[in-house]
Symmetry: C2
Subunit: 434 residues, 2 copies
């Protein structure tokens, strides 16, 4: 057992490969995750509810035969606490739903369980996946925010407590936390992955998201959620693909951005160019900013209607959420319709630009993670792509002089998620290592 | 009380107007609905679960002050049993979920309750809103199907058991039952109305739907679901608007259609022309049929993933659903992506055609309601519009020689639902009465 206590959790695919090779057992990896949680959870606060080591291992042993022959071997997964789980509370970061036990597992939870993943716990979300932060600190510097709303999902993976986790994004809720914590976050094309049992915030904007320590982790979890992974075939989904043409969207086209972040973007663009990738630059400012505004309007209109139940308890809602609900209720319907129409038109323009290249490269956040006292950071860097329902993935690995992560993101064409992840894999494993 | 027993339930807005005028009380209308249910439910079978008259009136009296000052005055509403209600089971038409009590009300249920509507009960749905019929008979001829999947919601309104009800549509689940039962069904533009708490079948195809006895009922219920109706302003939402230009899509462009239905379509087109409406005709066959095929493929792919939990209990699933799940699992991802891409392209073509006219007029079903022994009828007449997320509304009032309903439908531009309903109101109240 001594060796277990010094085993460092790795990526999901590394764990699975070591199990397949007989080097470690699933139980050793599970114990390594719990070692990490026990050492770090007090400082990081990634978990809203979770199994203890004993509870986990008891369940694992009770079904060990199933896990041994499964894709995910009983390894642990974190689930954002906005996604329903019938064996643990789902409280959505709000006292309104304290102790709420949903009647069903969300489909993504069900699919992970069927593939032999075990739900270690529910990760902290901001209040209804909007702005008000939970307890989580950034693993890199716990005085700083991990970003929101999938705060705990990002922090748990970044801090090696679990190899993979599930989040959701309406504005920047997966990409920004990944950027701040220095891990890999992926947002699926809208409609790609079932949101059944995920509590919706804004139906025209919500997407499921995943976190992993390697792109391969995300590729595998994605294929589980598409019911495509089997114990025999899963390695075949882990592809990398060389980029040929990249469209760079300068952060300043979207909104405020730090000088450090601009330098990080320039630095990756330069690395890509050195690998022979053709770099083009998006010129239009107005269209991108218009997408940001459309996103804000659609979100206000829809959130106010989705949270009809919760809006009856204003004293239990944060001020920013109350303000969003009031905005949505005061909005003229014509503003909402106008925003939807503009998105349609601007989507045509952007998709044409995207069709000429492999991906868009752009900042994943305005800069490094702010201090916790300053909130969870601004979501504007994700709004243009999210309002169009495009798949995105963060590229970690760059940092400022103090070592704080500066995440970039790649944006792909709608439903071309497999290719986007293959490109991200190439960038992370080939370009960033040089 | 004697007069109550002969009071015939009317449309929602008629009831509300008579309450406002002091002619009848809400309680009289509630009793009239229960009179109807008690007389007819054994033959029609619209309800999966429902309150008894005593239970309903006890709850009504307990909150009578609230109801008196509310928009909907405590009048009864039916909710399709695929939509979660925390005070009644939601079983989705499947023995897998027998006795399932959800942890929360769906948002549409919450909004109706907040506006003073009372949930009288849960209406019969086909198995998971797919094909396998429940017990419901068509009120016009109980040997015939009411159509599916919102079978009970359509039958309950058509049979005057409740003035309005909520359904959902993935293929033809609102429009076809309305057509078969001779009532008014409306499918909202995709994303218009919150589906939180509605169990999804296929995320790219699901829409919320409403039934009413008048278009005005639907306009009012829609404004409740958009949080726009108040006790003071609700009558201002009940608009009618004259049609100027109509694009007729012959049923044969979509698929098989009966001669009776073709005559019904021709007859309404003629009536419209007499009112000075310009009639144009859609010429393309191949595009419309391609939309039908795309719908089928997207549905198979997505249903198989959404019903991940249920697919573990094949012995409790009907053969048609098992076949759909198997198809979805066997499909190549490229087929799904191809269907999504084609929908995008064909949507551009159809939206251009729609932009030149006010609405499309087309059959709502292939013909009259089949016998129950022959299933719930074919959904193909709705697939092209549903796959594009367009709002639709049935136009009842025509029938075959035996008096069986032949429903037509109007199709509007995405998110132009208010204008679509205003046009439907004009057709039903001005054109159909001549």
């Amino acid at each position: 057992m001594d060796s277990d206590l010094t085993l460092q959790p790795q990526s999901l695919v590394s764990m699975l490969r070591s199990i397949a090779a007989g080097e470690q057992t699933a139980e050793q990896w599970i114990n390594a995750c719990f070692d990490r949680i026990e050492a770090r959870e007090e400082a990081v606060g990634a978990w809203q509810h979770r199994l203890t080591r004993d509870e986990y291992l008891t369940r694992y042993h009770a079904q060990q035969d199933f896990f041994t022959t499964s894709v995910l071997k009983g390894l642990p997964v974190g689930i954002k606490d906005i996604i329903d789980t019938k064996e643990m509370p789902t409280e959505m970061g709000s006292s309104i739903h304290q102790g709420r036990i949903p009647s069903d597992d969300a489909t993504c939870v069900e699919l992970i369980k069927k593939a032999g993943g075990m739900i270690l716990g529910k990760t902290v979300t901001t209040e209804f996946a909007y702005f008000k932060a939970g307890k989580t600190g950034n693993p890199v510097d716990t005085e700083r925010t991990p970003g929101g709303s999938s705060s705990g999902s990002a922090a748990a993976v970044a801090d090696n407590m679990v190899p993979v986790s599930v989040g959701s994004q309406t504005a920047a809720s997966v990409i920004r936390p990944a950027a701040y914590c220095g891990t890999i976050g992926y947002v699926a094309s809208r409609g790609e992955l079932s949101l059944r049992g995920g509590q919706p915030l804004a139906q025209s904007l919500d997407s499921l998201g995943l976190y992993g320590r390697e792109v391969a982790d995300i590729q595998l979890l994605r294929s589980v959620l598409l019911r495509q992974a089997t114990p025999e075939n899963w390695q075949s989904t882990l592809n990398a693909s060389e980029l040929k043409r990249v469209l760079v969207c300068d952060g300043s086209l979207v909104g405020d951005v730090s000088i450090d972040m601009q330098e990080a973007l320039a630095s990756l663009a330069e690395k890509l160019e050195k690998q022979g990738v053709a770099i083009e630059r998006l010129g239009q400012t107005e269209q991108v900013r218009q997408l940001v505004r459309c996103h804000e309007q659609i979100m206000a209109w829809e959130v106010c209607r989705n949270l009809a139940y919760e809006s009856q308890f204003p004293e239990q809602l944060s001020e920013p959420l109350q303000a969003l609900l009031a905005n949505g209720l005061a909005m003229e319907r014509s503003e909402y319709l106008n925003a939807l129409r503009q998105v349609q038109e601007l989507g045509g323009w952007l998709n044409q630009a995207l069709a000429q290249v492999d991906v868009i490269l752009t900042p994943a956040a305005p800069g490094i993670a702010p201090l916790k006292t300053d909130g969870t950071g601004s979501p504007h860097m994700s709004r243009p792509w999210q309002v169009l329902g495009l798949p995105t993935v963060t590229i970690p690995g760059l940092s400022d002089q103090a070592g704080l992560p500066l995440g970039l993101q790649l944006v792909g064409q709608a439903h071309d998620d497999d290719m986007l992840l293959a490109h991200a894999s190439w960038v992370l494993n080939t370009v960033m290592t040089k």
